[in-house]
Amino acid sequence: MYRGVMIIGEQRGGELHPVTYELLARGRALADKLSEELSCVVLGHDMERFAEGIIQRGADVVYIVDNPLLRNFLPRPYTSVLTRLAKEVKPEIVLAAATTQGRTIMPLVAAKLDTGLTADCTGLDIDPLDRSLLQTRPAIGGNVMATIKTPASRPQMATVRPKSTKPLSADKARSGRVVLKSYEKDMFTTCEELVRFVKDATQDVNVQDADIVVSGGKGLKTRDNFCMIEELASLFGAAVGATRDVVDLGWVGYPHQIGLSGKTVSPKLYIALGLSGSVQHLAGMQTSETIVAINKDPDAQIFKVADFGIVGDLFDVVPELIEKLKERKNGKLRREG
């Protein structure tokens, strides 16, 4: 009998990655609908210190598998441990993040368990008729959404797109169990080895963690004009985003690309300038809390998802906005000073 929801916590470099809290929020909602328990698995070394925080953010049970050989993500030992644990715990649902780690480990575990896996879900729900998992995901370049079920095999497995849900705030009053699991040595043997890790500074852009993202499209016309976007972003304390066309033109690097084949963001404020709002771009930003668009074409798709739109020439509007924001800032400083 398969019961309960299990999420796979994401560990990177000995730290618990915050995407785990997003998974906990997803898992909690599903577990409540099923009136079942939510568990969270964490693999790594010295990870027990995160258990309490995991419980505060929604877990009923935390499984910790501690071993120095699990310090770095390696497919083989991670697969062995997770497959074994899934067979022991028998959850009806298993979720992981659709990150390079989750998208690697989940297909491996699903194949070992001989069950179905749905990729990159943006929507998860329980079918009230049969209590099965409804997994909704974009496919074919964001042109369609598909809802997928795993009718007969268990567990039902899915990877969840990062930033597609908000974490729950920590509730210090929540309680739960921590279960330390240990396994025999040959569970950790591997045929892959991490020789070296090189941190890439250009990957540090972190559009995904920013509260505000200012994005520019081809409407900026030249790399020099794109500086306007950068100036506006720095005034807002925002990260710079871009469409694929802009990245292909080389105005900014790939880590800035928002959309289906780039990053998915869900900031408090997304400002879209001179970009048309193609389905592929929308796929990466439409869950933003507030969206502002400036475009000279009143029929541009981007206005369909905007909360506030200005129809106009960005070469007039943006400098004006920059000017007024600066004034405002200075005024504030003067008042405060």
Partner: protein, 267 residues
């Protein structure tokens, strides 16, 4: 050394139609292309073959009969052999069923077991289903190592060293062979068909393999062998209550915007 490239034929443009009843894609014969990342995988296979003594590149695809066009293209681009898994029984396969069929084909072509220097190359993901699950699943079924998101491969004796691109940087991974590697766009610039390749592609027989040839039953492949079911397909729905302003010389649009942002507490 045998290098196998898993190659999927995908619709060339974004005009893909879905059968809303069955949740499967309606494919038409024209405008289909090799999945772009599979072209990178193939180019990498050819590059490795050309520096390895006695290496051979075999392209494998599962799909409808017209997927042999993609395989002929692969030969024109430099693959030595190509085989097509095609049969009604394979239709409607999800990633697990697809991977089982491809894994079985690999084992069969390798004569029972992949060799100690064999390498399987895939794209990180295909542009239509976009799951990125087939490569890792094939490796799990074959019980061989997998390295995903790879932008560089060096072959050593019975092992590879690969650069794997992750969110925060670059991992250098060493894995023993045989192994499965999934590649990303940065790995290379795919080449063009050569004249001799084109001639070879024209005359070459492309063997067609059925589930029966692989000893697979209808429970293993196709819809029956697929644990997932697409139950609904729909267009993404967007729309918010938009406040629209027109830019004017008095600058009211920008003033309104700033007030709006203040109201929402984001500035």
């Amino acid at each position: 050394m045998n290098i196998y490239v898993l190659l999927k034929q995908v619709p060339g443009t974004s005009d893909v139609k879905m059968d809303e009843e069955t949740g499967t894609m309606i494919r038409t014969e024209h405008k289909n292309v090799i999945n772009p990342l599979d072209e990178n995988a193939l180019a990498e296979a050819i590059r490795l073959r050309d520096v390895m003594p006695e290496a051979k590149v075999t392209a494998i695809s599962m799909g409808p009969p017209h997927a042999q066009k993609a395989l002929r293209e692969a030969i024109a681009l430099g693959a030595d052999e190509a085989v097509l898994l095609s049969h009604r029984g394979f239709g409607g396969s999800d990633t697990l069923a697809t991977s089982k069929a491809l894994a079985k084909a690999l084992v069969t072509l390798a004569g029972g077991k992949l060799g100690k220097n064999d390498l399987v190359l895939c794209g990180e993901r295909a542009t239509d289903g976009e799951t990125g699950q087939v490569g890792p699943m094939v490796s799990a079924i074959l019980d061989v190592p997998v390295v995903t998101y790879v932008r560089k491969i060096d072959c050593e004796n019975h092992a590879i060293v690969a650069e794997r691109v992750v969110e925060e940087g670059l991992e250098l991974i060493k894995a023993s062979l045989p192994a499965v590697v999934t590649v990303i766009k940065d790995i290379n610039q795919p080449g063009f068909p050569t004249l001799s390749g084109k001639l070879k592609a024209k005359s070459r027989e492309i063997p067609v393999i059925t589930p029966l040839d692989l000893g697979l039953s209808s429970d293993d492949v196709g819809l029956q062998g697929s644990p997932t079911r697409v139950v609904k397909v729909f267009r993404p729905r967007l729309s918010r209550d938009t406040i629209m302003c027109r830019q004017d010389s008095a600058g009211t649009a920008v003033d309104n915007l700033i007030s709006f942002l203040e109201e929402r507490g984001v500035v």
